[in-house]
Symmetry: C2
Amino acid sequence: MKNSEKFMKKALKQAIKAYDLGEVPIGAVIVKDGAILASAYNKRNASNCATKHAEIIAIEKACKKVKDWRLEGAEMYVTLEPCPMCAGAIVNARIKKVYFGAYERKSGAVLSNHQLLFHGGLNHKTEAEGGVLENECSTLLKKFFESKRKSE
Amino acid sequence: MKNSEKFMKKALKQAIKAYDLGEVPIGAVIVKDGAILASAYNKRNASNCATKHAEIIAIEKACKKVKDWRLEGAEMYVTLEPCPMCAGAIVNARIKKVYFGAYERKSGAVLSNHQLLFHGGLNHKTEAEGGVLENECSTLLKKFFESKRKSE
């Protein structure tokens, strides 16, 4: 198994925690020098807070751990392509590379739409790779939305 | 004095708090039905956290106050044009309108660059107006960066 798949599996485990709580199942881990710095899952509903996506919580935990707002050299693994807020936070935290699972064709801001990680006006650029364990990541999301529709 | 200027003055007061702590002087307030829901200033350095821009802290405080991640009908007043992260958070929180002071021509993501608030792929669109008390807002930022350069 590739390293990127190994860490995406960890992000998927986080996403399943969100699923079990009835949150949109998205998980993220931040890795530096081969070790996990922070893990998180989406808590938008549970926290009643618009900013509490998996990526933001993971960045906040990692910053707290290293006592620095700069996460230089770190990588993020996230099960869904980040939205504009999260893509902006990833660049602000100077993360080196983002691996994501499923593509978010409508509002994804990494490869699908704005390509916010590589914008010329920014002081830092973050590399990106999409489609890591894409099937597992998108299947979990589909299953969640199908079960939501059934229960409505 | 226009209402927008009245609330921008409140945001400027917050920015001055950041200035006094040696943080890039940016302040924000969130207003609903004519009353201030939340006020905040940039704390990126003090908090050692990449996400702690004035706008994000203000959104988190406002969500906590109304116990909802949706800030529908709310307006934000912020002294500098929001970055991609903050513009994304503003849309995610379903804020109705953003008024900002100084333009950020390099990385501003509301009117200067990506126009993230009105992107077709999003479920919500936020209105925007730039240049409210622009001189006061940009003068404070210039003063801050000049004093930083002198002390280096």
